[in-house]
Symmetry: C2
Subunit: 314 residues, 2 copies
C-alpha cells in the first residue's frame, strides 16, 4: 500500500439494501483513505459508489464527481440506460455468484428428479411413496452462455455426471463443457437437452432468444431454468409451451419487470416455479470482499477487476 | 472367459420387484452357462439368487443348493437373521449408491437452505419473496460412518465447500473428510455440526447411536438426515428434539419397520420429511451391471466383489 498518497481521501457512498452490513464490514477492514459518507446526505462530491444498480440509477445524475461505481450485482442493466452518464469506471460483481447459482440450479433439478414435492404430498396422507425417482446422472444440460457463472455451473453439472453443452458467442474456455455451439448452431444446441438453463446477460443480441422455435427443440420431459435475464424469454411462447405440455416445467428467477406483477400469468402457469430473483443471494461478507480488493487496486491506481464495457453490456 | 467349463450350467433365480427388467438385461448380456429359472417354480436346485433380501429371506429355506446370493440392496439385514443358513456366499450392492445418496442429501439440504418450500407458499399467494436464503458453503456436515457411500457423500460435500467430519470405527480412508473421530469421540464429532447424516449399516454396535445425548450436541439450526438404518435412531428422543425445537428438522428415509405404519408419530412430527426409503433408487441397469461383473468372476472361480461378512453384518 506504499503507493497510496496518505493525504488523499476517497468519499464512498453505499447505496444498498444491506448498507449497514457493508458499512460494518468496510470499517472493520480499515481501508486507508476511505471515508464512508452518510446515505441521508448523498453528497455531490463523492468519488465512489458501492451498491445495487437499481438504487444507484436514480441518484447518479446528482453525483457529478463519481469516478468508480462497484455494483453489488452481476447484472448492471439499470446503469446501461443510454441516457445516463458513462464517464466513470463501472465494475460488477463476479466470482461469487457461480457457486450460489450452481446450488440453486442443482437444488431445483433435484426437486424435480427426486420427486420431492410428490413425496411431501404423499406424506400429508401418511402414504409410503417409494415410486422410483430420477437422477441427474447421464442427463444432458444445455447452458445458454458460459461466462464465469456458466463455467461454474458446467463444473457442477460434470460433478453430478451430466453431459454439458454450451452455447457461446465464440469462447470455448471452460473445460467442463463437452460440446460447444455458436451462432447459427442454436437449435442444434437445444435439440434433445434434458435441461435448458439461461445464464445470458441482457444484451440486444440475446433478447427473446428463448422463443417458440427454440422451445420446440426441447423434448417433452425438459425443464427450462432462467437465472439470466427476463428479456431473454419470449413470455407468451414459454407460457404456451408450459400450457400445452410441450416442456415439463420451468423455474423462473428473473423477469422483464421485477417484482413480477401479481396479475402476471407466470404465477399460475402449469409446472412453473417462481423464485423471485433469489438464485444468487448477495451475502454481504462475500460482496464486501470483492469491493475491498478492488478498493486496494483503486487506491494504488491499478486497473480494477471486473470492468464493465458499456457497449457490450457486460 | 477361457476358464469356464462349457458343460457347466448355473441356475439363477431372480427374486426382485424388477425381475422382468433384470431378466431382459441379463439375457441381453448373454452370460455363458447362465440359465434363468422361472420365478413361479422356485426350483430347489438353483445355484444363484439375485434379488431383494426381504424377498429372498422367506424362500431361502427351500433352496438347499444355493451357493451365491447377490443382493440388489446395500443393506442385507433380512438375510442376517441368525436362524437362517449362512453356508453360501452373500454379496451386496456397492459402488452404485454413493452418487445417488449424495444427490438425495444435497437435494434435501438445498430444499432447506434455499427455502424452496417457503418460496412455493409465497408463489401460491402471488407474492414476490426475495428473502435472503442460506447456502451449503462453509457449513459443517458430520457423517456417521464413512464407507464407500460415505466417501462419496464426503466428496460431494467438499465440492460444495462444506467442512466434513467423519465418525468411523477406525478407517480414515477418505481424503475428503477434514477431521476423523472414533470410539468415544462421538459427542465431540457431533458438537456444533450444521448437518448430521447417518449412513451406518445395522450392526449391534450402532443401534440407537442417535440418542438424546447425541442430539443434545447439535445446535438448534441443525438438520438430521437418516439414510442408513432406522435402528440407529432412538425414535422418542428424536421426536422430542423435533417437538421442542432442539434441532431444526429431520429427513428420514429408513425406519425400524417399513413401510412406516400410518399411525407412526414420525409422519406428523414438526419439520420432518419422510422419504419412504427412496434415497438410493436401484436402477435396474446399474444393479444388473454389478451382477454381471460378479457372475463372470463366479463362473471363473474367482473371488466375488462385495462379499458380506455375516458376523460383522456388512
Amino acid at each position: 500500500m506504499s503507493n497510496i498518497n496518505p493525504h488523499t481521501t476517497y468519499k464512498l457512498l453505499i447505496a444498498s439494501k444491506y448498507a449497514d452490513d457493508y458499512r460494518t464490514l468496510l470499517e472493520a477492514a480499515e481501508l486507508p483513505g476511505l471515508e464512508i459518507v452518510e446515505r441521508d446526505e448523498i453528497p455531490a462530491n463523492c468519488d465512489i459508489v458501492f451498491g445495487e444498480p437499481s438504487l444507484i440509477k436514480p441518484i447518479l445524475p446528482g453525483l457529478p464527481t463519481v469516478n468508480w461505481i462497484q455494483s453489488t450485482f452481476a447484472g448492471v442493466d439499470p446503469l446501461l440506460d443510454p441516457t445516463l452518464r458513462r464517464d466513470y469506471m463501472l465494475t460488477n460483481m463476479r466470482g461469487v455468484f457461480g457457486g450460489l447459482m450452481s446450488e440453486f440450479i442443482i437444488g431445483y433439478l433435484l426437486l424435480h428428479e427426486r420427486k420431492i414435492l410428490q413425496r411431501l404430498e404423499a406424506q400429508k396422507k401418511r402414504q409410503w411413496d417409494a415410486t422410483l425417482t430420477g437422477t441427474l446422472r447421464e442427463k444432458t444440460i444445455g447452458l445458454l452462455s458460459v461466462g464465469s457463472i456458466g463455467a461454474e455451473v458446467a463444473r457442477t453439472a460434470k460433478f453430478f455426471g451430466m453431459t454439458v453443452r454450451g452455447y457461446t458467442r465464440e469462447s470455448e474456455a471452460s473445460q467442463d463443457v463437452d460440446q460447444y455451439f455458436h451462432g447459427e448452431e442454436l437449435f442444434a444446441f437445444a435439440q434433445g437437452v434434458d435441461y435448458l438453463v439461461n445464464i445470458l446477460p441482457n444484451t440486444s443480441a440475446t433478447r427473446q432468444i428463448v422463443d417458440a422455435e427454440l422451445l420446440a427443440c426441447l423434448p417433452a420431459h425438459a425443464l427450462f431454468i432462467n437465472v439470466g435475464r427476463g428479456s431473454a424469454v419470449d413470455q407468451s411462447a414459454l407460457i404456451q409451451a408450459l400450457e400445452t405440455g410441450a416442456i415439463a416445467g420451468a423455474v423462473l428467477d428473473v423477469f422483464d419487470v421485477e417484482p413480477l406483477p401479481s396479475e402476471h400469468p407466470f404465477w399460475s402457469a402449469p409446472n412453473t416455479i417462481i423464485t423471485s430473483h433469489s438464485s444468487a443471494p448477495s451475502f454481504p461478507k462475500e460482496i464486501a470482499r470483492v469491493f475491498i480488493e478492488n478498493y486496494r487496486l483503486y487506491a494504488e491506481g491499478q486497473p480494477l477487476n471486473y470492468r464493465v464495457d458499456f457497449e457490450k453490456g457486460y
